[in-house]
């Protein structure tokens, strides 16, 4: 399979690889996919106020899955939660020139963003109940 230059670039130089402290109240964690499907993405965001100030990822998956999640972290950094939630998988497909067989990778990246934001929001809601 031939990969686009952008996929290769993200695969060879993935952005924002790593982990944030998942127990921290200002960190949201999204883990999507399943090992038996060959794709698992972990995407984490650190939030201040309404804004994503840091994002990290780790991905088990093909080159396109790694590139999709790497790109996702790049895009959501500096964005508000609502802006991050508005990112569509089709934008990722377009940016990385993903072939049809790899579209599920972009879907997973979109799900990972949503899952991380939701995790953050539910943590905040719980915090709110406590205080």
């Amino acid at each position: 399979m031939a990969y686009s230059d952008k996929v290769l670039d993200h695969y060879n130089n993935p952005r924002n690889v790593g982990s944030l402290d998942k127990s921290s109240s200002d960190v949201g964690t999204g883990i999507v996919g399943a090992p038996e499907c060959g794709d698992v993405m972990k995407l984490q965001i650190q939030v201040e106020g309404d804004r994503i100030v840091d994002a990290k990822f780790k991905t088990f998956g093909c080159g396109s899955a790694i590139a999709s999640s790497s790109l996702a972290t790049e895009w959501i950094k500096g964005k508000t939660l609502d802006e991050a939630l508005a990112i569509q998988n089709t934008q990722i497909v377009q940016e990385l020139s993903l072939p049809p067989v790899k579209i599920h990778c972009s879907v997973l990246a979109e799900d990972a963003i949503k899952s991380a934001v939701n995790d953050y929001k539910s943590k905040q809601a719980k915090e709110g109940q406590k205080s």
Binding site: M1, V32, P35, G38, F60, C62, G63
Partner: protein, 405 residues
């Protein structure tokens, strides 16, 4: 070193230069039709074909009259299974094969099922081996054919062919074996191994692509197959079509070389294979060898690198040409059916790489490949959330995974 390093010898092999030399005169000089009985051009072609037949028969312990030329193993498999089913369908309608067979066998079996035959697909054990007991238990009074590969193309596991062949002969059931990966790598003797039908392919034994044979036993028992190609009645009526003389000459030369050299070659390949296996399993953790450590091809190593997806690993080792059982490398988005049949687990199937060592592989090349693989696995594990979770002591099987396809 020529890059990328070729370690995909189960997929295909280069033509040996000695084979090519033998073939070349038959394109332009001795170009006759082997079926032309009334001039020298035809006689020369026929003589060359008969010599090749002897050379091929010699490698598998057959007589030259038992060799039917085909376009390769896929055609030979179709001829063997459909040809037997059509010829002996009155006698019985049951066929035994296994889930770990090549698609050519599985799809032919499915075709026969549609025609009213009943097929038992045996599950191999965890090493990919079909046991004699499993075959014996599946035998029925109406079983007419057992079709089991000699060596598995993905994991290199060898089936107990001799024992299964003896059982088939005892029960009066025909035994067909796809020996595409075995011939030229390990000893094959259709008499001692009780084989009735056997296929092999030129391009797996350093011969050309597009040529292969079906061995059809002529006595004890005399096996008959119904032709699947109608025409001029070539190959004793079993496979019509003008013979591909240059390729047949090439296949003959390849088999002659294999007869003389395969023992030394197997020894060399298995030493290289063991060296690679040792490096991968000692320099990395959580590496699993797929297949059977005792009954296996000398030149095949299938390994799963846990927590690393196969296609991303292939991307990371672009200077090494190998294959993966990962779904992402296939059109179907399903991981290897062979690893699945061995109950390897889909997550490890997605992480598998097959290394094939060949006649022209050097230790230097293998070490280069091992360095690349080890480096890429380490890098990708740094990227892998699963590796991180495993290191934290989380049992990945206990996780309730969300989504995915």
């Amino acid at each position: 070193m020529k890059l990328p390093i070729y370690l995909d010898y189960q997929a295909t092999t280069p033509v040996d230069p000695r084979v090519l030399d033998a073939m070349l005169p038959y394109f332009t000089q001795h170009f006759g039709n082997a079926a032309s009985r009334n001039h020298r051009y035809g006689w020369e072609a026929e003589a060359a074909v008969e010599k090749a037949r002897e050379e091929i028969a010699g490698l598998i312990g057959a007589s030259s009259k038992e060799i039917v030329f085909t376009s390769g193993s896929t055609e030979a498999i179709n001829l063997a299974m459909k040809g037997v089913a059509e010829m002996y369908g009155e006698k019985g309608r049951h066929i035994i094969t296994s889930q770990a067979e090549h698609k050519a066998v599985l799809d032919t079996a499915k075709h026969l099922e549609k025609q009213g035959f009943e097929v038992t697909y045996l599950q191999p054990d965890k090493t990919g081996r079909v046991t004699l007991e499993a075959v014996a238990a599946a035998m029925r009074p109406d079983t007419i054919l057992v079709a089991l590969m000699w060596a598995n193309n993905e994991v290199g596991t060898l089936n107990p062919v001799r024992e299964i062949g003896a059982l088939c002969h005892e029960k009066g059931v025909l035994f067909f074996t796809d020996a595409t990966q075995a011939v030229g790598k390990i000893p094959v003797d259709v008499e001692a191994d009780h084989v009735d039908l056997l296929c092999l392919s030129g391009h797996k034994v350093y011969g050309p692509k597009g040529v292969g044979i079906l061995y059809v036993r002529r006595r004890n028992p005399r096996v008959r197959v119904v032709a699947q190609m109608d025409g001029g009645g070539h190959e004793r009526g079993m496979r019509s079509g003008t013979l591909n003389v240059p390729s047949i000459v090439g296949l003959g030369a390849a088999c002659r070389i294999a007869s003389a050299e395969f023992e030394a070659e197997a020894k060399r390949a298995s030493e290289l294979r063991d060296h690679l296996q040792k490096r991968l399993t000692t320099e990395l953790d959580e590496v699993y060898v797929n297949g059977n450590l005792e009954h296996r091809l000398p030149n095949c190593l299938n390994v799963s690198f846990a927590y690393v997806e196969g296609e991303s690993l292939l991307m990371g080792i672009s200077d090494v040409a190998v294959s993966s059982g990962s779904a992402c490398t296939s059109a179907s988005l399903e991981p290897s059916h062979v690893l699945r049949s061995m109950a390897v687990g889909d997550e490890l199937a997605h992480s598998s790489i097959r290394f094939g060592i060949g006649r022209f592989t050097t230790r230097e090349e293998l070490d280069f490949a091992a360095d690349q693989v080890i480096g890429a696995v380490r890098r990708l594990r740094e990227l892998s959330p699963l590796y991180e979770m495993a290191k934290e002591g989380i049992d990945l099987k206990s996780v309730n995974w969300q989504g995915g396809h």
